[in-house]
Symmetry: C2
Subunit: 184 residues, 2 copies
Amino acid sequence: MTIEFARRSHSLIPAEPGKPYFIEKGMGDRAHLFGDLFTIYAGGPQTENTFNFFTCDGPKGDIIPAHSHPDTYEVFFVTQGAVRLFVEDLEGEQTEKLLTVGDFGFVPKNCPHAYRIERHHSQIVGVAAGPGGTFERFFETLGTDTDELGLPRRPYVPEPQKFGTVLQQYDVTFLPDHQWRTGS
Amino acid sequence: MTIEFARRSHSLIPAEPGKPYFIEKGMGDRAHLFGDLFTIYAGGPQTENTFNFFTCDGPKGDIIPAHSHPDTYEVFFVTQGAVRLFVEDLEGEQTEKLLTVGDFGFVPKNCPHAYRIERHHSQIVGVAAGPGGTFERFFETLGTDTDELGLPRRPYVPEPQKFGTVLQQYDVTFLPDHQWRTGS
């Protein structure tokens, strides 16, 4: 699976696959989406569409919209702060768990999930991939790419018409009527 | 690709794929190999053989033996301490880079590489996978699985006869005559 995207000129990810590379902290390909900063360090073009690797930096905030991925498994590994992960299994059983530094959460394909960042300056390391490929350019496509190094100064809220076209292309199913009954 | 392994009874990784799960810091499937502690949080059985996710905790020490992976791409993301990554590209050009917290290194398949942990209490987050599958059980197969939570009290040195059988099965090519000419 290949998704076309305009490769930014400042990227430190080599254009040609097969090249080793290093990227210093924070210097991956960056995007703002709502209040968060997403930074991509590797993706499908580097790994023969096997996996990607990115970080999400965010402030303490609201729970994100519930969603699922028909073809993507997702890792949440907290490296700073605290993040509450909400997930529903394929039988409809819901769980939530506060993850702090070093804690890990795993969301299989088709499982509804969401998270809420519970401390300022939190960071999640993510891997999101499956047999159908990787979808790391979702963040800059629904959001906006940026040269800035920090969080958005104001939340970047996508135009409503962007959602319909972007979500399916990047294996995201939003679940607007989903209710979390886990209590937090 | 499926590799059989004896699943330990204490594992917090669900036996059946498709289940969401959480693992608190340090509580993944653990193995000792030489002076390091490897902790697996997800692998091929959870991701339809797409990717894995593990940590390597180690003390300041010597450079590990140079090796390459014919079919595996590898991520090094430092979350504690400092690690010097050595890598050679497919044209033979060698680079080394000191990675500290938040820094990232990427090693494509077939690229010789090694690392040296340069501070005590360092931790690397790793993803090692490719189109042929994932190989996260390498560490406990060449090394030894453990219920302990810390570093090996004494380095676990595998029996020499283990190397030949284990390495090829887990997509590892050791390069005993390899020389790093990068100067450190």
